[in-house]
């Protein structure tokens, strides 16, 4: 009996020690010399790094609106608190200026900072773990070629137990892969390139794949869509109804490379940023590769109601650019009134967009989602996009319009442009404001 107790005790102690070692042992640094040797030097390295930094869209998270690129400080409101992106310029005090190559690669692959502390997975290292060491080093070379910016990011605001960083080692065990994305010999070179760009670089799944209870990506529902920071990342699996299965390759190509596609509307919110900061800078071949890969992802039927019917609603087809059909006027009310004043002169009553195709609403999921999630966000916060014909922007209407007005406008737009019955409430608008 005593022996049994002792054995159990011993097992418990050994297990505890093992767990403690697992949790608190300093993570070893990878050897990066082999990869480094394979890289070009000088400007060629920096150029490669710049392309990859864009492809990985580092700037989107590491820059506040109006702030210096890569100086960090952007707040991420997660279900369990707020974390701020760090400064990743080469500033020695506040940035990553004194990080070694190995430390940088470890951060990208394992989510561990210079001091050995675990980083929060708001930083998409679970995706970057699939990046090659060479590419990671090139990114560092580019970041270090930029002028250092002295900027202290605000302190994270997380409660217990989420402020206990070591817990993340369990998480990493579950959700972070080891080593770069392997080539799938059964697939084409284009597909493989697309897979690498999508998974390791553009980290599309970080937004578009739903997360499980442990905040890990639920890859069983890959690209089925998710909601974060008050915006919907739509289903981008190949499902014909709820995903992008019915989009032509050309539409996808345009959407990713220009931020809008004929008949599909324009990218706004985080997707707009992803295009603006990242995707539009990629080569046409790389965009095509992404399209090839994404289209091959198996369909996931999601419960999302943001479905664009093949036949646009009559309100839309009977309106002309400069005037609504009588039907659509009859829907009337406050929403119509607001649309007349602040919206119609860009978006056009037939949804084609007047001065620019970026204002086209016809066929956009945002105006077909009865939840109105992204619609309300874009009305409140506006949108902007750099295009071949200059910057296109929609102003943010949050401060001069009431929640009641925003909700009424949302309902009107969904009815007129999407033929959707919706019931956005002022409370929904108020909630969206807070996000």
């Amino acid at each position: 009996m005593k022996r049994l107790v002792r054995t159990i005790l011993a097992v418990v102690v050994v297990a505890a020690v093992a767990v403690a070692i697992f949790l608190f042992r300093p993570a070893p640094l990878p050897d990066v010399s082999v990869a480094a040797a394979k890289l070009p030097t000088g400007q060629a390295l920096i150029d490669r790094g710049e392309y990859l930094t864009r492809a990985a869209d580092c700037v989107a998270c590491h820059t506040t609106s109006g702030g210096t690129p890569y100086a960090g400080g952007l707040a991420f409101k997660l279900p369990f608190g707020t974390v701020y992106s760090p400064n990743i310029t080469a500033d020695k005090q506040t940035g990553i200026g004194d990080w070694s190559d190995a430390e940088f690669v470890r951060a990208l692959h394992q989510g561990i900072d210079k001091q050995g502390r675990n980083l929060y997975p708001a930083f998409s290292y679970a995706a970057y773990a699939r990046m090659t060491t060479e590419d990671a080093l090139a990114i560092k070379a580019y970041l270090f070629s930029l002028p250092p910016v002295h900027a202290e990011a605000p302190k994270n605001d997380l409660g217990f137990p989420f402020n206990q960083r070591y817990v993340l080692r369990f998480w990493n065990l579950l959700f972070v892969a080891n080593g770069p994305l392997p080539q799938d010999e059964k697939q084409s070179a284009e597909w493989n390139r697309g897979a690498y760009l999508t998974e390791a670089m553009a980290h599309c799944g970080e937004c578009h794949t739903p997360r499980n209870l442990l905040y890990g990506l639920d890859n069983g529902k890959k690209f089925a869509g998710a909601e974060l920071q008050g915006w919907k990342a739509y289903n981008i699996s190949s499902d014909k109804t709820t995903g992008i299965g019915s989009w032509s390759d050309e539409q996808l190509f345009d959407y990713l490379s220009k931020g809008h596609a004929e008949g599909r509307g324009a990218a706004t919110g985080s997707m707009g940023e992803a295009v603006d900061y990242s995707l539009r800078h990629l080569t046409p071949e790389d965009i095509k590769a992404i399209v090839a890969y994404v289209k091959a992802v198996p369909p996931q039927v999601s419960s999302d109601k943001a479905i664009v019917e093949a036949q646009p609603p009559a309100t839309l087809t009977t309106s002309i650019a400069y005037g609504p059909s009588p039907d659509s006027v009859a829907q009337g009310g406050l929403g119509l009134k607001l649309f007349q004043g602040a919206c119609a002169s860009c978006h056009a009553w037939n949804g084609e967009g007047l001065q620019t195709p970026y204002a086209a609403l016809r066929g956009s999921r945002t105006v077909n989602d009865p939840d109105g999630t992204n619609l309300i966000q874009v009305i409140l916060k506006g949108a902007h996009m750099t295009t071949p014909l200059g910057k296109q922007a929609m102003p943010a209407f949050a401060s001069a319009y009431s929640d009641t007005e925003i909700a009424a406008l949302g309902n009107y737009v969904l009815a007129h442009f999407g033929g959707k019955q919706s019931a956005i409430t002022p409370a929904d608008a108020a909630k969206a404001r807070a996000q």
């Binding site: 406050l334 004043g341 001069a400 009641t404 909700a407 009424a408």
Partner: protein
């Protein structure tokens, strides 16, 4: 030929302006001013040369061309038409026979008596020129007729003038003014002339076609922003976003790389990019990396300013504006006392034409093209910045695409001159709308505390109004407004409400906000009448009386006020039933020498959204020189005031203005505008001002209508529509509530909540 003879001016700071005669906007000075240059005929730079130039305003050339040089500028308010009508009436010409031009800067000749400077503002133009311009016309006509009589050797009494022609009645001989111009110029200028009896007016009182509009339907007229001079480049500018901050470092590299960018010019607190056209200048400006030295206001917020103001209102010793009767005694004796406090926001002017100015600084002189309400001030700014004497600063004034007070300040001329000084070519500086909203000189915020004691009949036995806010006038006076002196504008509309209030105290606590401020359409009265008329409604409510009935009882000795009150009540159908959720609000005032009552009818949805249904305005503005223009000004002024009351407020956070363009500084649109009816009370009094009068009426009529519709008293502007929700749960955007439930809920809600700042106290029965 003498050069412009404005008195020399020295600009000492952004705040300081117009010394010498100073721009003294004292509406109480009505009638006390000097006459503008009557009989003076010295030609000035930019003057119109003609054979017959009897005074500063009238030119008749031998070829028959008649030109009026008008002392006040046209910014849409119809001044050119009105002033031309005054001259034409007495000169005996038709409006279609004359050309009108803006006066060049000349303080001696074109000073607006009511303003004490060459300026257009405060609804003073017609009041100030009513006599002088008619006398000018009459004098010139007298000289023309005398010249004709002399030529025919007949008595003057046998000759008469009509439509630009003098006729010898007995013989029917005729001479046109053109033919008489030379001879008339040699006639003595009469020292005294008799003006027409109003019953003989041919033009005054008729809705004549405006003189400034023909070129406004086809793009032909030239506003300041449209001026193009040879070799001109275009600049746009960014001033420090924090009030009072300075320019730090500027990285120009990217901006220089924009093709078409010519120069990048640094000023103390701003940086400008000059390019071949506005677009390239704007792109260049966006490409700059600018570091600002934010200075003392880097943390300033609207809440700080309001808190300071509230503290000042309570703790500072006020300056008395008016005190009559035994205030303390009457308060003690009151059956009931009512108290309330009101808050008003900073306001931007946002005229449709953004701020702009063309300047060419040459070796020894400077030429300016712009539209301004204050041409001599513009001249003064340029002189100060360039160091040239005033007579080396040539100002071309243009039509104005909306002023509303913004162009009563010419600080941006100083900025434009400072930019142009650094380059050799002429520069047109255009502010983006964002710059216009964020670097306006704002109508200041106010905090007013009112109290009244009511007698047994419910009428006020004592009225107390503690006004608190900045001195707008102080921004115009070198060295600022004296600390211990009353700024009449601060209490204009509060000191003399058109009511029988035997015991009254109105005082003012001065607390200047940390940013430059200026007038805004309706000046003092827009602020004060909102407070006075809201409170008057609160008193009526406290007394259990109908708001019109209550005012009627208080205007027994105010015939002109009573006149418009009755007319507005009658025409609006005051008292007739309205659908649930609807209400009528009234406001009554006597601003700018006119009397106005406005009834606004609105409906408020259960979600708190307001629909402006109908406005009925009764006005007694004395003789209406052009009734159609009076109506247009009332319509427009009302819309302007409603737009502000519903939507406008400039707020600060971290020293920066939070609004930037029409998406967040919202303007009322055509589909929100109410139907407006205007009714005149016929009057033979001298004309009162009308350009701002209805703006004054708008805010209080709206707040009172909201109370009538919802039972909720809103004491701060802009209206917070969130407070008007009666559907409570916020569940739906479209209420499913039966219409009858809304007022019921409103009553319940009202019964539950104590008004936040309004306090009614029943006096204990002794």
């Amino acid at each position: 030929m003498s050069k412009p003879s404005s008195s020399p001016q020295k600009v000492t700071s952004r705040r300081a302006f117009l010394q010498g005669s100073g721009l003294l906007l004292g509406f109480t000075m009505l009638g006390a001013g000097i006459r503008p240059g009557f009989a003076a005929a010295e030609p000035v730079e930019g003057d119109v040369i003609a054979a017959f130039s009897p005074d500063a305003f009238i030119r008749v050339d031998s070829d028959g061309k008649i030109t009026f040089i008008l002392p006040n500028i046209e910014m849409g308010q119809g001044t050119h038409t009105g002033e031309a009508t005054l001259i034409a009436e007495e000169l005996e010409v038709g409006l279609d026979q004359v050309t009108v031009v803006d006066a060049p800067p000349n303080e001696k000749l074109y000073t607006t008596a009511l303003l004490g400077g060459q300026a257009t503002g405060g609804s003073t133009s017609m009041r100030a020129t009513w006599e002088p311009l008619r006398k000018a016309g009459a004098a010139a006509r007298t000289m023309l007729v005398s010249a004709a009589a002399a030529q025919w050797s007949v008595p003057v009494s046998e000759c008469s003038a009509k439509l630009g022609v003098v006729t010898h009645q007995p013989t029917g001989r005729q001479l046109a003014y053109g033919a008489l111009a030379d001879a008339a110029g040699k006639q003595p200028v009469p020292s005294d002339v008799k003006l027409k009896d109003p019953k003989d007016f041919q033009l005054i009182g008729k809705s004549l076609r405006r003189v400034d509009t023909a070129g406004k339907v086809n793009g032909a007229v030239v506003y300041g922003i449209d001026v193009r001079v040879p070799d001109m480049k275009v600049a746009t500018v960014a001033a420090c976003p924090v009030i009072g901050g300075k320019l730090g470092a500027v990285d120009e590299t990217a901006a220089r790389a924009v093709p078409g960018v010519r120069d990048i010019v640094r000023l103390d607190n701003a940086v400008a990019v000059i390019g071949d056209h506005f677009w390239v200048a704007k792109k260049g400006l966006e490409a700059l990396t600018i570091t600002w030295d934010e200075g003392a206001n880097a943390k300033l917020s609207s809440a700080d300013i309001m808190n300071t103001l509230k503290a000042a209102s309570k703790n500072k010793t006020p300056i008395m504006a008016r005190q009559e009767g035994d205030v303390a005694g009457a308060l003690k004796a009151a059956v009931k006392t009512v108290e309330a406090s009101y808050e008003l926001p900073f306001l931007a002017h946002a005229p449709m034409e953004p701020i702009n100015c063309v300047v060419h600084v040459r070796a020894d002189e400077c030429e300016i093209w712009l539209g301004t309400q204050v041409p001599t001030q513009a001249q003064g700014w340029a002189a100060q910045v360039t160091g040239f004497p005033l007579d080396k600063v040539i100002v071309h004034n243009h039509l104005i695409g909306g002023g509303f007070g913004r162009r009563l300040v010419a600080e941006y001329v100083g900025q434009a001159a400072a930019i142009a000084k650094q380059v050799s070519y002429p520069v047109k500086v255009i502010w983006t709308r964002e710059e216009d909203i964020q670097h306006d000189l704002y109508r200041p915020t106010y905090y007013d505390r009112l109290s009244a004691g009511l007698g047994a009949d419910g009428l006020p036995t004592v009225w107390i109004d503690h006004v608190a806010g900045g001195s707008v006038l102080g921004n115009y006076i070198p060295g600022g407004w004296p600390q211990d002196k009353l700024d009449d504008d601060a209490v204009d509309g509060a000191a003399k409400p058109p009511y029988d209030l035997p015991v009254i105290q109105v005082d003012w606590v001065r607390e200047d906000p940390p940013m430059p401020i200026t007038w805004w359409r309706g000046v003092g009265p827009t602020h004060n009448v909102f407070v006075v008329e809201s409170f008057m409604d609160e008193l009526a409510h406290a007394a259990g009386k109908d708001p019109v009935e209550y005012r009627r009882a208080l205007t027994k000795n105010q015939p002109r006020a009573a006149g418009v009150l009755e007319l507005a009540a009658e025409k609006s159908g005051w008292g007739s039933p309205l659908p649930a959720g609807s209400g009528r609000g009234i406001s009554l005032h006597n601003a700018f020498g006119s009397f106005m009552a406005a009834v606004l009818e609105i409906s408020v949805s259960p979600a708190g959204e307001i629909t402006l249904q109908r406005a009925v305005v009764a006005v007694d503005c004395g003789i209406a020189i052009n009734p159609n223009t009076v109506e247009a000004q009332i319509e427009g002024g009302l819309i302007f005031g409603l737009s502000a009351a519903l939507y406008s407020g400039i707020t600060f956070s971290n020293g920066r203005v939070e609004q930037s363009n029409f998406h967040d500084y919202r303007i009322l649109r055509i589909n929100e505008a109410p139907k407006i009816e205007v009714y005149h009370v016929k009057s033979l009094e001298s004309p009162g001002g009308i350009g701002e009068t209805a703006t004054v009426s708008a805010g209080p009529a709206l707040a009172n209508a909201i109370f009538a519709a919802t039972g909720k008293r809103l004491r701060s502007l802009p209206i917070d529509r969130n407070q008007l929700k009666s559907d409570g749960a916020d569940k739906t955007s479209v209420s499913m509530m039966p219409p009858l439930a809304a007022p019921l809920l409103a009553v319940l809600a009202n019964g539950k909540e104590r008004p936040e700042t309004g306090v009614e106290t029943e006096a204990e029965t002794l």
